[in-house]
Symmetry: C2
């Protein structure tokens, strides 16, 4: 059974400055890009990053607490999925434009 | 005669992470919004901010050095204009989506 991590903001509580702070980092942009390009939810370990897993956790947490991704456990695996619809509701067009710009960097 | 301030990056040197760092601040989003809504280039003094002018200078510099705006002097007035076309060239759709999201915050 999946267990969600519940410290993510509701869509009505999204803070745009906080979203920008969360994404202003190459590691975090890489996480978002890989999730956007995946056909299924990805475990943290399935996302390739040039840092240690213990350091990566901090980046996943920043993205989750800003509302960019949802995390949940299946067994001992922590899975990640972008909150595409919630971001579109709060900031129309922003996440697609961000991902597009990040792809060229 | 107008004199440009020349430490801004060429469009080919734009760094997306730096752009995100520059805009991840309510004061700087307010500067961008006001410039986007203006019918002409604005002096720093014409942009309403809840901070002292001496503090505002730092924010204008961060935006200029990331490539978001161009500054130039006419006499002793420092004028500002968004680099809309350059941003569109480097990161298509990003600045409009950013300004739209910032308007709702």
């Amino acid at each position: 059974m999946a267990r969600a991590i519940t410290d993510e903001p509701a869509v009505g509580d999204f803070d745009f400055t906080r979203v920008l702070e969360a994404v202003a980092d190459p590691i975090r942009l890489s996480i978002l890009r890989q999730l956007a390009g995946a056909e299924e939810d990805l475990s943290c370990g399935a996302i390739e990053l040039p840092i240690k897993a213990s350091t990566a956790t901090h980046h996943f947490t920043a993205l989750r607490q800003a509302g960019l991704l949802h995390q949940y456990y299946v067994g001992t695996s922590r899975l990640n999925v972008l909150r595409v619809d919630d971001m579109e509701t709060a900031f129309p067009g922003f996440l697609p434009a961000l991902l597009n710009a990040a792809r060229n960097t």
